[in-house]
Amino acid sequence: MPLTDSPPADLVAAPVLERVLHEALREGGDFAEVFVEDRSNCSILLDDRKVEELSSGRDRGAGIRVIVGETTGFAHTADISEAGLMSAAEAAAAVAREGGGGVREVALARRSVQHQQVAVLPGSVAKSDKVDLLLRADDAARSAGGAIVQVSAGYGDGRRRILVANSDGLLTDDDRVRTRFFVTCVASGDSGMQTGSESLAFTLGYEMFADHPVEEAAAKAARRAITKLDARPAPSGVVPVVLKRGSGGFLFHEACGHGLEADHILKDSSVYTGRVGELVASPGVTLVDDGTFGPNWGTLAIDDEGRPTQRNVLIQDGVLTDYMWDFLRARKTGRASSGNGRRQSYEDLPMVRMTNTYLIAGKEDPDEIVAQTPKGIYVAQLGGGQVNTATGDFVFGMTEAYLIEDGRVTEPLRNANLIGNGPDVLSKIDAIGNDFEMSPGTCGKDGQNVAVGCGQPTLRVTGVTVGGTAGA
């Protein structure tokens, strides 16, 4: 496996792909697809000023699927020679062995895609420069104050060159570069230790650090940890919650977005099944999924089925307008894919996934929203969460939060969980700010992780359960 960086279109020649698709449909079947991927990654972990690990790797392989009626056969291989692809095609076609057996010739027509423009390929940056970047972040975090006792910082970049060919004649490719950075600080004080973290992640090359200095991110993480040293336990019970811009987008991704994925809809395992045209959120709430949205973490030129991504409005002014679709679910419904078919790697089947999901800004002054909240919680950063898509029930950790007393943000709170129900929260939004921010995340579904962006303006939810430990 020579480490060349040839264009993705050269991974497998078109005539080979045509023969493989032909083989995949030899026993019958309605549709066949070859997904070829060549992926390289680099990651560096700095812990307490030591480069604890510098790791890199390379994967190359192909996934082949055959669809027969309602059944999908899938096989993958790390051998992308014609022989390797042929044997995977045969394995994927096993589901069609009782099928009609019509032989189909496939003639591929190339569709070119505007690949992402990358100013500085991370692979071209010296490893020593990447290490220096992390050391600079460490310096910045420690200069935030003596209370910072530990700093760990991580850097990662990845390049995925993909090629998609299918029996409908589509042949297209993409070259994706993503770069990310994260930092976690531990502060120590009389009350014990607290952590603060921050991350930067974009569908960009190494040039991202010019606009997003790691020093700023590190200082932010350090401040979070230090602030929490004085934090008191969060209260428990149902309280009004103001989510700062960019803090809670992941909540809407998890608790509402997943329920709008067509695979859940078609299996009637979503609270949103059959509700297009209904009011599902407070008026003023507009939820969008947009794979073309700037250099955000969930941006893609094409999805992993070769479909160009697009801006999809899911909820318009409180009314459910549409779901998100991949090829398979769109085909079942007799409509077009919305460009939401994604897969973690060639080893996985594509399914309906979000890209950049966000609530659009409203008209209110964010400061006024706080001022008009006599008592509540101000969430400046949410951590990880979990959701049951069938019920919409969610749990999210608050990693930076404050009390709101008499319309003012006052004391910091220790980490605690927010627990609620997605559809319920959407209908309890009673104030939407005129600000907006995106943040990066990793979305897991059925064991596959993909990069997503989430965003939202400052907004208030009239009541969410907080699981604090005050009085516990």
Binding site: L54, S56, D59, G73, A78, L349, N388, A416, N417, T465
Partner: protein, 447 residues
Amino acid sequence: MPDLLGLARRVLDKAGADEDVEVYVAHGRETSIRVFEGEIEELTAAESAGVGVRVISEGRQGFSYVGALDESAAADALLEARDNARFATVDEHAGLASPDGVAAPVLDLWREELVSFPTDNKVALAVELERQVRAGDTRIRQVVSSDYVDGLGETAIATSRGIAVSSRQTGCYLFVHAVAGDGDDTQTGFGFSVGRAPGELDVGLAASDAVDRATRLLGAKKAKSAKLTAVLDRRVTATLLGILSGTLSGEEVVKGRSLFAGRIGEQVGVGELTLVDDPTNPLAYGASEFDAEGLACRRNALISKGELSGFLYNTYAANLAGRSSTGSAVRGGFRTTPGVGAQALYLEPGTRDQSEIISLVGDGFLVQSITGVHSGVNPVSGDFSVGAEGLMIRGGELAEPVREVTIASTIQRMLQHVVAIGSDIEWLPGAATGVTLAIDEISLSGS
């Protein structure tokens, strides 16, 4: 199967005299079948393989992997790992495992039955599981998926320190995701059954589990906030043990990131509490002959009769702490370097089953599942606050279902407030084992 150890040795032959090299080779095959409405929805035949190479040179460690069993690609990974090592910080504690004379347990984790099990029979198991769930209760509204998954895996490790080991195992499971409905109310439940071979799978158990879990929460409401005794269902306990294992990692301890740092010998829990990580027990699905650095797996007592008695170490953590590896190196495949982790964690069982514990408790809350574990538990401070659903316990009987509440305490307090440990051990996939566990002084936060 390809000769993994042979490949590892051939790559190792390319190591320089002044460097330590570890070659980790993994190969696996998996069949995964998803059934919906009696038909195959997805059938996946997967083969994964790759090589991960660690190089340690003058105290600097580098790592690289390649997703192929190809000798020249693996040789490239060695070159890349060697280059990566140049940029690492010198760390006197970096090192590969050295053979320590501990004999590996002899475990038979491979079942030919699985290897030769026909695909049609696999499909039939998933179809039958779906059928039983749909027939299990009129309130089952949907079976979102019914899966049969099996896999066989082999790994080999060869190092310049003289380790050359390989092992292989098989495993399979059935998993079903059911949705129950009653009027506007919707609840979900999962059921599964695990085995090393298909003959060990119990379709009926997986089906009734999913049906019970989905239907018994119908009509669930928020409960009133209260301080009460929580009875953790077996799988909830397994999740809790998973959290505990992170705090018992020697690396986290030596780096001051665990609430147990510096507390060896202290009484951290009630006298009935004994926590062991024992991958030499073949009943555990985390059982293994060798750890991820090629040392023999062994039984490690972590809490003995309430007293904190040990931590888990891989070679690096052991070097940091000035101790020896406990054979607790784990890794998530060939793409990662070894970390520290539990492999087969379990609580020594008590004498009562779950229903006896429920009557013993009298009034409390049976926790069926918890969510938000990663955000809700702080391994340093011990703060614990997670989302929960389950059933209230009144007069020693299960009563009304409850959802959307949180339960909170601290890990320290929970260990000191264990009131009963069940006799009902359940071996689960993953590193932790289930058992019913009752803990008092838990704050339930609801309405």
